[in-house]
Symmetry: C2
């Protein structure tokens, strides 16, 4: 039995494939660094959060940590995602924790500064 | 005369003050590092993009570079913001360049990996 939680990077999702590709690139360093981690979309794209929870359950995973690839918490993270989590926990008998969005970590602000300075050097 | 472009960090905006506060914190390292830089909101919050362009023009600035605090380019960055830029350029006789969203820079992916690893250590 594996008690390690599975990390899920949750992006908003879009019907525009270019939008999803940007998130897949953003997620790649994490997916390569954190064993078993996955990307999932809240809506409009696959894999959905439900798909990833169901797959994890089949792999014997019972606990999940969702790290939102969002810069800030709006209605989606304050209301929609907690509602989805409640339903998924009941439906699949798993424990799902919602972490703060990545943008609330000060490291992101420093990365933005570096990106801007790099853009200015060009 | 000052020929340096003014850097504008453009966030989406929200009527939720907590949302805007997260973006203000995210912008702080850049605002402290890049002389004259400003944050602006696309909608639902102040200062608006128009406010920042008008203020810049009064300061003698004629060129602006918008760096979107967005992880990926969706409808807003492909359509709405270019439309706003076209109108603002004509109304204020300025030149405005739209840079790619910060999430298209590979450094952001590395920062996300670091944030996730930090969250896992806790």
């Amino acid at each position: 039995m594996n008690d390690d939680p599975r990390i899920i990077l949750l992006a908003h999702g879009s019907s525009d494939q270019r939008w999803c590709q940007t998130f897949e690139k953003l997620a790649t360093p994490t997916l390569e660094s954190v064993a078993g981690s996955r990307i999932a979309y809240m809506e409009l794209a696959e894999p959905s959060l439900e798909t990833i929870i169901r797959d994890g359950k089949e792999d014997g995973i019972n606990t999940f940590i969702i790290i939102p690839l969002f810069l800030a918490a709006g209605r989606h993270l304050r209301k929609d995602v907690p509602g989805m989590i409640e339903e998924l926990q009941a439906a699949h008998n798993v424990t799902i924790t919602l972490a703060p969005p990545i943008g609330e970590n000060p490291q992101l602000g420093n990365a933005i500064r570096d990106v801007v300075n790099q853009a200015l050097e060009r």
